[in-house]
């Protein structure tokens, strides 16, 4: 955690410095006769200044505990990625972002949703060496659930809540 705190502290400081720079560039509204303390940049700059202090505390605290020695290596990254939990996380991330961020809006909603649910169930429930009969059952089950959820969600949002589907 101390390494994560070190990186977070650096990100906070850099991000906040950028916010202060942007706040400084915001108009002062002098042409409108606005009070100088009512300008749009004053509050973001104030918040950024506080976040710089917090970021600084995180950095100092983690450096004192040796958190600045990140110890990154390809072998360690491979080891982290090989953990079953992280593999599940990565698969979930790819599926969900692929569905919501890429498919929705480009492919008809019902098709995208059905494909997503089907792929999600099959990918997570299928295991190497699963008997053909059980594989067929899994695929059938996933297809039925995908179709049922897609129909129900599409119908309820379109007809009941009067939403134009993406």
């Amino acid at each position: 955690m101390i390494r994560a705190d070190f990186v977070t502290g650096i990100v906070l400081i850099l991000g906040s410095l950028y916010v202060i720079f942007e706040s400084w560039r915001m108009p002062r509204m002098e042409h409108l006769g606005a009070h100088p303390l009512s300008v749009p940049g004053i509050v973001p700059a104030f918040l950024a200044a506080i976040l710089i202090i917090f970021g600084g505390v995180l950095v100092i605290r983690s450096v004192m505990l040796g958190g600045h020695r990140l110890g990154l290596s390809a072998a360690k990254a491979r080891e982290v990625l090989a953990r079953p939990g992280n593999q599940r996380l990565l698969t979930t991330g790819v599926l969900t972002i692929g569905y919501a961020g890429i498919l929705i809006g480009r492919v008809p909603y019902a098709l995208a949703t059905g494909l997503f649910i089907f792929a999600f169930i099959v990918l997570f429930e299928w295991k190497k060496g699963l008997a053909p009969a059980r594989t067929a059952r899994l695929v059938g089950c996933a297809a039925i659930l995908a179709a049922a959820v897609t129909l129900l969600v599409s119908w309820s949002f379109e007809r009941l809540f009067l939403v134009t589907l993406p």
Binding site: T8, S38, P40, V43, A48, L51, I121, V163
Partner: protein, 512 residues
């Protein structure tokens, strides 16, 4: 005083009558049941449930929509106790303290008894909180009329600092960082004084800032989907074979604990952005400190379980008090509720007791009905409801995510809001992994606008003189608590204060 109480009671009874229609009762029934199911399913939190259901209530009138959301909220906080008792995984974060004694009881073959105790505690906690909602909200509402820019500025800072501190007791700076990131997030979009677009970079979608519901659905829904799929699945301690009916003896034996936990829960609820989980933990800790059966805590103590469940459900009405009177949420689900009120044209805040005092009593009536439905379903449907726990996460999570995506989109029919949901989901997941609490982040997003306008207005009013920010009576109290909350996290300073405190109380100090 009696006349005021009678008037309050009259308004409450009249509000109760408003919802005695078949349609309202139908909505009450399904939404409380849905709330219990959402709470019981690991990975579906109360905040996520209220946020998702908000997207389903756009077309309803305000009263029914808020009633449904309230029932989901109350039901979900209670429903989480099922999972905590049977699987040792809190169904919602609010039920984390419930696992300590609930699961050991289930392991001893007393799962049914534990669930009965959880039902008793939850109902009584809600009732105690409801009493204070009915009595304190009107008082606080009238008092809030005295608030000006200076007070609102400090209220925002106070909320962030205290919420940050209490939700990250091990490392308060992380709570504060989460809160200030939330405040900073609220700076995106057109500001309210000169209508200047801040940090929008010419994007029209960002002119209104980040929409709250997609952000919450992301931070609590998508982030939870990622967490649930990453973590290993839990195992059930076994279905309850004993009776789930609550015992009167539990109430008479632990009435002190129940009242204390109800009071603690309500007070924690009133503090901005703290929430049910802290209410449960503080109630549990207080019960253990005062208990005659301290040694049983953590090994299957009925008293510990009743304290945790009374405490978390008492937070619900408590958290609604600042929502109604100050438009500041007391917890994360209450934040969604606040956003839903705005969407439905209800304007909570200091003017509510002037503009629509009856709404306060309608909300009390909603909590009453939700509590009633929760108690009924808790007793009658406990065993059938447990079948939902058998749904594998690999089938449940894709459905939840589909609802997260379409729910975020449905508010304004913008694909951009789906990206907001994804962005906040990833941010929420990363922050949670690094032990940053979510409640201050959400509170920050809500309070950002309040802080922004009131700091600038206050400075303009005084022509740059900051003295009133520190000398007005309410400001003085707020900034002193805020400063103490920050300064007392500095270890040497805290030790010095402790020494001074003990020196000032020689009788106690000598004994240690």
């Amino acid at each position: 005083m009696t006349a005021v109480l009678l008037d309050n009671l009259g308004q409450f009874l009249s509000a109760l009558g408003t919802f005695l229609t078949p349609l309202a009762l139908f909505h009450m029934g399904w939404s409380t049941l849905l709330g219990i199911v959402i709470g019981a399913l690991p990975g579906l939190t109360a905040t996520m449930g209220v946020a998702l259901v908000t997207t389903l209530t756009y077309k309803l009138n305000a009263d029914l929509a808020i009633l449904i959301l309230m029932c989901v909220y109350v039901g979900a906080i209670y429903g989480g106790s099922r999972t905590a008792i049977l699987i040792n995984i809190p169904g919602t974060p609010a039920n984390a303290a419930t696992t300590l004694d609930g699961y050991p009881l289930a392991k001893q073959g007393l799962a049914g008894r534990a669930m009965g105790v959880a039902t008793t505690g939850s109902v009584l906690g809600s009732v105690i909180g409801m009493f204070f909602l009915a009595t304190l909200a009107p008082l606080l509402g009238n008092y809030a009329l005295k608030f000006q820019s200076f007070e609102f500025f400090w209220l925002a800072i106070f909320g962030i600092v205290v919420s940050g501190h209490l939700t990250a007791l091990q490392d308060p700076i992380k709570g504060w960082i989460a809160g200030f990131i939330g405040l900073m997030t609220a700076m995106v979009g057109q500001e309210g004084i000169h209508a200047y677009d801040r940090f929008t970079y010419g994007t029209t979608e960002l002119m209104g800032g980040f929409a709250l519901i997609p952000a919450m659905v992301g931070a609590f829904g998508f982030a939870e989907v990622l967490t649930v799929m990453r973590d290993p699945a839990g195992e059930m301690a076994g279905n309850p074979r004993d009776s789930v009916f609550p015992k009167l003896g539990d109430i008479t034996k632990y009435w002190r604990t129940i009242i204390r936990s109800g009071l603690i829960g309500t007070v924690i609820g009133i503090i901005p952005g703290v929430g049910e989980d802290i209410g449960a933990w503080v109630s549990y800790a207080a019960a253990r400190r005062k208990s005659k059966e301290r040694e049983k805590f953590g090994k299957g103590s009925i008293e510990g379980l009743i304290a945790a469940e009374t405490g978390n459900n008492a937070v619900v009405p408590g958290a609604i008090i600042p929502v109604l009177t100050l438009a500041i949420p007391g917890s994360a689900p209450a934040a969604v509720l606040l956003a839903a009120m705005f969407i439905h044209g209800v304007r909570p805040g200091p003017m509510i007791m002037v503009e629509s005092p009856q709404f306060v009593y309608q909300v009390v009536a909603m909590v009453f009905y939700a509590t009633l439905a929760m108690g009924l379903f808790g007793i009658l449907l406990t065993k059938p409801l447990l079948t939902v726990l058998a749904i594998p996460r690999t089938k449940l999570m894709p459905v939840v995510f589909v609802l997260c995506a379409i729910g975020s989109y449905a508010i304004t029919s913008r694909v951009f809001d789906i990206w907001v949901m994804i962005g906040f989901g990833l941010l929420g997941f990363v922050l949670r992994e690094m032990k940053y609490p979510m409640a201050p982040l959400v509170l920050g997003i809500i309070l950002g606008d309040l802080l922004d306008k009131n700091l600038r207005r206050g400075l303009v009013l005084t022509d740059g003189d900051i003295t009133p920010f520190f000398t007005r009576p309410i400001c003085l109290v707020l900034w002193l608590i805020t400063a103490a909350s920050i300064l007392l996290t500095i270890e040497p300073l805290r030790r010095a204060v402790q020494r001074a405190w003990q020196a000032a109380r020689p009788g106690r100090g000598q004994g240690r």
